[in-house]
Amino acid sequence: MEDFQVTDRPIDLAAWRRRLDHPQAGGLVIFEGVVRDHHQGRAVRHLDYQGYAPLAVRVGSEILVAARTRWPLLAALGCHRVGHLEVGEAAVWIGTAAAHRAEAFAACAWIMDEVKARVPVWKQETFADGTVEWSQGTIMRSAAPE
């Protein structure tokens, strides 16, 4: 099973959590990005995500590998949902395990920052007033060879 996945079905939080188990782990940190009912003061009805799955999996996996070179991690996993999401559903799940908690926290936050900056996924918000907009995004950081 890939360490970083893109799925169009609800993220199985319990299954991902189980994959963090490791006998040497003393601290696990989990981040869940959830669809919230508002964005910049406007009521959100639902979201739709598109993703370029093969590249998203590749970039996500590279981020996890990079995190393992920066911190002594026992596990580093991630999953991004695409498709139609209602308020309260998890759009992204990131989990880290380390012997000590500082590394697990730092790595989890860093992975999530990188995922937002580099993984080719796009979010479209449908607001309560019926307006539909692509979220203002971040210009992707390319990993193209110079």
Binding site: P120, W122, G137, T138
Partner: protein, 80 residues
């Protein structure tokens, strides 16, 4: 002329009205291909906001294109 597959996401998918298409093009690089698509379909995203992927790997704008390549112009991302 090389035959290429172009995939569209987000704003570009909306503007093109298609998820993907197969086209023949004289464009020798991703940059010339994007300019051709701008001309043909009125795509509005500036090149500087896009990243180019060919065959599922990120490449430079002046990377050469070959017959059978899959090309994607990636708008600013907003995952999470």
């Amino acid at each position: 002329m090389p035959e290429l597959t172009v995939l569209y996401f987000a704003h570009l998918r909306d503007q093109r009205g298609l998820d993907s298409e197969r086209i023949t093009s004289t464009a020798t690089t991703a940059r010339y291909l994007y300019r051709e698509l701008v001309q043909r379909h009125g795509l509005t995203l500036p090149e500087r906001t896009l990243i180019v992927a060919v065959n599922e790997a990120m490449v430079r704008w002046d990377a050469p294109l070959a017959d059978g390549d899959t090309v994607v112009f990636l708008p600013p991302v907003s995952g999470g």
